[in-house]
């Protein structure tokens, strides 16, 4: 088997209706995996994603809606993903929210929502998926952190904390699960063309681009390619790592 061939592998990608999650799901499908899409609710964008990917990969795309920040729903989602192919090999924790606010102006609701969706979801899904992966002594968990989680940024106190927390969770899970054949890694995207940056002004956009050594914005596909590497047997001896996908961005 070619190491990048994911035929007969099963993946769950959270937050996969658009952006990095959608691109990741598409990339894993291209490599032959069976993929379960997930979003909090069956939104129009999730329906569209499902329909589009099913048309390209009939029989290998499924969707399970549910809130990955809710441990009860997580059990249903992960079990449902496992039951589809009677295996779960790849978990991509991508679901996340971004709420920018300066210190002193951050609402409690935004703190809780950001930590629930970005960080607690990773802990819940890891707990649920690790045992299922351990059955086959094989698995890859890929957590989507952020360059903000490594270096911080003005106006992103909570987001940065949540993404740094993901890195801590990744490092601990990697050490604990290695003996069971489950690898755990994180990626730290930089400035990527997603809905999260649509609100930025042209001035801010220009500043961000000028801070990137490669001189261009990242595409969701750039991130998805690294996820594919970490999901595949090409990275079979890689665990507990944080890989920046940022074109040489400096914050």
């Amino acid at each position: 088997m070619v190491p990048l061939d994911l035929s007969n592998r099963s993946a769950l990608v959270t937050g996969s209706s658009r952006g990095i999650g959608y691109a990741t799901a598409a990339r894993l499908l291209d490599a032959g995996a069976t993929v379960v899409l997930n979003g909090r609710t069956m939104t129009e964008s999730l329906e569209t994603a499902h329909r589009t990917l099913v048309a390209e990969h009939p029989g290998r795309v499924h969707v399970i809606e549910g809130d990955v920040a809710d441990p009860v729903q997580v059990k249903r989602i992960v079990r449902g993903a496992f039951d589809i192919a009677k295996r779960l090999d790849i978990l991509v924790n991508n679901a996340g929210v971004l709420r920018d606010a300066l210190i002193g102006m951050i609402s409690e609701a935004d703190v809780e929502e950001t930590l629930r969706v970005n960080l607690m979801s990773v802990i819940h899904t890891t707990q649920a998926a690790a045992r299922l992966m351990a059955r086959g002594k094989n698995g890859s968990i890929i957590n989507v952190s952020s360059i903000i989680g490594r270096y911080g940024n003005r106006g992103q106190l909570v987001y940065g904390a949540s993404k740094a927390g993901i890195i801590g969770a990744t490092l601990s899970a990697a050490k604990e699960l290695a003996a069971q054949g489950v690898r755990v890694n994180a990626i730290a995207p930089g400035y990527i063309r997603t809905a999260m940056i649509e609100h930025l002004s042209p001035e801010v956009h220009g500043q961000r681009i000028s801070s990137i050594a490669m001189g261009r914005i990242g595409e969701p596909r750039d991130v998805a390619d690294v996820v594919l590497f970490l999901a595949s047997d090409l990275s079979s001896y890689v665990t507990g790592q944080v890989i920046g996908v940022d074109g040489g961005m400096v914050i």
């Binding site: 059990k75 992960v78 079990r79 707990q127 649920a128 045992r131 299922l132 351990a134 059955r135 003996a179 069971q180």
Partner: protein, 79 residues
């Protein structure tokens, strides 16, 4: 095969035992190899054998063979 027999086979396989010892000896953190890592291997093996996902409360409560049998019987039924 009864749940008790199947569970015994799981214990034998996970802890690499030729024969199942007295139940009273099968106690978490007292029986050799049944430490926290062994416990997670046991949980994974039980879930595979009985095609279930155990609740966290049940995993924490599974402190002996007898307790494991009670939990699995409740989830799976007596046979």
């Amino acid at each position: 095969m009864s749940v008790e027999k199947r569970l015994g086979n799981v214990f034998r396989e996970v802890f690499e035992l030729n024969d199942l010892p007295e139940r009273s000896e099968l106690i978490y953190n007292q029986f050799p190899k049944w430490n926290s890592l062994g416990h997670m291997s046991l949980v994974a093996a039980i879930e595979t054998e009985f095609d279930c996902i155990l609740e966290t409360d049940d995993i924490l409560a599974m402190s002996s063979f007898q307790r494991a049998l009670e939990i699995v019987s409740r989830i799976h039924g007596p046979s």
